[in-house]
Subunit: 205 residues, 2 copies
């Protein structure tokens, strides 16, 4: 392996080992020693790539941020109606979270920082605003039941997906997260979309 | 104040001060010094009542446990139909959580232990089983839509209330938790209860 490839592989091994620890026990309880043991690396190899545990966490948070941007742009580009776009994005996010421990760790890191302590949870509020905007757009296109409040739907969905992820992680290592998210959408959607949208969606299946 | 009353007041002051710290930053980040400063007490006064930070946390967890038992028994005793009992219990729990920092701390302590790390979240699973049993009982009485799976409803509601509590705590100190829970129930209930139950519930309002 050329030196550059080896350096890349080492960096990836560190990220993956750190992701596994962060995903299991969170940032505070993750020790550098545990990460190095898991990756089979020395402190020297670690510090060649990262200045600190905090720096690895930063790289993982950046990774999840880039993935969401890509996912949002891709679904936006499909030009489906707003509710289908939203359902598609939420379902794909759940599938990826179940499959990708690196993504899961980044999401946990950012959520732990934001929801465990008082303050303004920026990433969370951005997500809530995005959901609300899609639901409002669905309203403008005449797809909603009367009286549906896009902000209320966004609050309910964002809380519900956060809680589902936490429980799914603690009980099944996130394996049942996609199923939990689909159950949730199936329960909430009939109160949000009107009969015309729902029967058109049924026909398309 | 007689000595016994004074001792009782000191114990309460410690519990309340510790509850405020645990509620804000969680168990791991709560320092005994911060609790003592908040309560205006010395280490000596603290150790007269509690052996450790862990012991105070234990007392708070016990407090929330006793409250749930009382609340469940009281709602059970009203002999309402199962869905009304469930909605009443969930709504009252949310109201109490918003009002009572001691309760809130106990709930956070037990949830942090259970959902932040891999393992079997017993308190959570018990709650899920309870919700599932009420929904199944509603099914037996003919109050549900066709095809409703009580376990799926329980999974969705328990995840959703956990997430709503975390977000509400981080953003509003739990003040908007009752509103979030009612929004959630309003979104989920029409997919769970059948039209007969829903219109009877509307009439009763």
């Amino acid at each position: 392996m050329p030196q550059q490839d080896r350096a890349y592989a080492t960096r990836e091994a560190i990220l993956r080992a750190a992701a596994r620890e962060f995903d299991l026990v969170g940032y505070d309880r993750t020790s550098l020693t545990a990460v190095l043991t898991r990756a089979g690396l020395t402190k020297g190899a670690f510090y060649f790539h990262f200045a600190s545990k905090e720096a690895v966490a930063g790289a993982l948070i950046e990774y999840q941020h880039d993935l969401w941007v890509e996912l949002r742009q891709r679904w936006h580009g499909r030009e489906l109606d707003p509710l289908h776009t939203l359902i598609g994005m939420i379902s794909e996010s759940a599938d990826r979270m179940a499959d990708d421990v690196v993504l899961r760790a980044g999401v946990r890191l950012i959520a732990d920082r934001e929801v465990g302590y008082p303050g303004v949870p920026n990433a969370h509020l951005m997500w809530e605003k995005m959901v609300s905007a899609y639901v409002a757009e669905a309203g403008a296109r005449g797809h909603l039941r009367e009286g549906v409040d896009p902000d209320a739907v966004a609050r309910a969905l964002s809380g519900a997906t956060l809680g589902a992820r936490l429980i799914s992680s603690a009980t099944t290592g996130c394996a049942d997260f996609p199923g939990r998210v689909r159950e949730l959408l199936a329960l909430v959607l009939p109160s949000v979309a009107n009969d015309a949208w729902l029967s058109a969606a049924d026909d398309r299946r």
